[in-house]
Each structure stands twice: as C-alpha cells, then as structure tokens.
Amino acid sequence: MIPVLHTERLTLRAPTWDDFDAYAAFRGSDRAKFLGGPFTRAQAFEQLCAIIGHWRLRGYGRWIVADRETDEPLGIVGLLYPEDWPEPEIAWSVFEAGEGRGIAHEAALAARDYAYNTLGWTTAISLIDPANTRSVALGERMGCKFEKTFQHETLGTMHIWRHPAPEDLR
C-alpha cells in the first residue's frame, strides 16, 4: 500500500514499529519544537500511527527515510495533507542521525518527483515555521518562493512556500 522509493543514498519506505524509538526520540527532542513539540512517547505513538493512516485516508503520505545500506531511520519526508492544512504540502523532518548530510534535500526531491510524476500534482507547497531557518534554506534550495503567511489555530504563524511547477522542473 505504501510504495518504496530509492534515491542514491536513501530508501523511502513505510514506517514500522522498529522505527518507533528513533521517531519517539525525535518527537520528544527540541528538534520537534517547530512542529508543536516536544511530544511524549504516547503522543509519538499516535503520531506514527497517524502517518500510516494518512496513506489510507489520502492515498499518499510520508515515508520513513532510511539509509539505503543499513536501513537506519534518518527522518520523515513526504506528502502531508491533514484536515487543518491549507493545501497538500511536501514536508521534511530529519532525525539527529540524519543531520548535515543533505538527507532532507535528497528525500524531498524524491517526494516532489513522486507528487508531480506519479500522482500528477500540478502544484505543491511547503509550510515552514519562519524561525526554522534550516528548513527555509532547504525550501530555497528546492526553488521554492515565499507566497504568504498562514495562521494555524494551534501551531501559530507558518509561511507558505510554493514549489516550482512540474513544467518548470523539466
């Protein structure tokens, strides 16, 4: 049900319970502060379940980004459209183990390619907390342009960054 994608260094695959410790450590850390966290392990469990349920509800979702050789989970990247989002987005989060190696960029490019060329999306955004400078830098690296602010009920002010359209990437 959840497709597997490969990039040069990474596998994008369905989450399993073996990923839970790495995921819960990430959700419980300061790295989750731009995502409404940190969260407890009980909350992280529900969130990991919800990542899988998202695929069922939308037909697409987010993958665990794993090292192609070792299968170590390095982050969560993919297509996210919960009910309280302005439109479907390309989302990325990197665990501590995946930091500083261009992992998010490599995985986000694969996710965008999947959205445009497999699902037929004609546009895509990324929602970014303006204080999350590293995420903003990645958005810019992917060619995104700041579009407008979005006020989320619980997460506060987010910035909508628009990705280049499929035809602009060909």
């Binding site: 379940c49 509800l57 309280d84 009920e153």
Partner: protein
C-alpha cells in the same frame, strides 16, 4: 483482512475512511468535550488517522462498532498497544450519546475481549481509565474488570482496570 465480529445486536469491523464524517461530527461537537482533541479539527483528523494506522501495523486495533442493520459507526472499542506500554489495552469510546444506556458498549467490549483472548492470544488485558470518567468505570465494572492497584499505568493518574479471561 480481519473478519468482522457479530454480536446479538452489533457488528464490529475494521474502521474505514468512510467512518470519518461521523467521527468528526461527534468529536467537533460539545458532547465530546471530555476528549483532549475535541473541537480541534486537525487533532481529530490525526486521531482518526491513527486508528486506521494502528490496524495497518498490527492487523488489530479499535473496532468500529455498528448496528447489524446499519453500517454507521456508533463507537470504537478494542485493542490499543503502543510498543512501550507495559500491557495491552482494550480501549473504548462511544461516538453518540443517543445510543448510551442500552448496553451497546458492554456488548461490543465483551466481543472485543473474547476476540483478544481467543484469537489474538492475549493472556490478560487492561483498560486505563481517568478517575473522573464515571461512565467508563461503570462499564469496566460491568465487564467484570477489577481495579488493579499494583499495576503500573503508562499514563500517570489513570486507573488500571484488569480484565480476566473468565469475565469476558
């Protein structure tokens, strides 16, 4: 795919995306104010997605409870077991106050417990209950569950009710 369970008046089946509108309408109403996600559409949607995801991962989870002659979901009852919890839980939530007081939750919970013991192979089961949730405590007691003061709860402040196989 797990086969549905049938009781005298109810069917327990795997939850499906089509159950979302009923779940949403209940959780977004004031009647659901005792749920933490109540009134928050994003949190409610994620909680519903988590129910589907739990099934996907474990091939088990909270069953969608429906009447035998209607596929409309009236509640969710069944297994919930985060990998870090000390024990497996049977959880429940009824999504309509209109059906309360008629023993439907009891009937569904009994079927779910029997399935957990007989098919899933559980040897014991607990329910973690907020001490302020009198209705839920009554249901646990009606099912024959006993307050287990020695058991550890993964959620501080909640009571641990233990179900025994014979009681199911």
């Amino acid at each position: 795919m797990t086969a549905p369970l049938t009781t005298e008046r109810l069917i327990l089946r795997r939850p499906i995306p089509a159950d979302w509108p009923v779940y949403r309408d209940f959780m977004m109403s004031e009647r659901a104010s005792y749920f933490s996600s109540s009134g928050d559409l994003g949190a409610t949607w994620k909680a519903f997605a988590a129910e589907l995801g739990h099934w996907q991962m474990y091939d088990a989870g909270l069953w969608a409870v429906t009447f035998r002659d209607s596929d409309t979901i009236i509640g969710l009852i069944g297994p919930w077991h985060p990998p870090h919890w000390p024990e497996k839980e049977i959880g429940w939530m009824m999504l309509s106050v209109d059906v309360e007081g008629k023993g439907f939750a009891t009937e569904a919970a009994r079927a779910s417990l029997t399935h957990a013991f007989d098919v899933l192979g559980w040897t014991t089961a607990v329910s973690y209950i907020d001490p302020a949730n009198a209705r839920s405590i009554r249901l646990a007691e009606k099912l024959g569950a006993v307050l287990d003061k020695a058991a550890t709860s993964p959620m501080p402040g909640t009571l641990v009710y233990r179900h025994e196989r014979a009681a199911a």
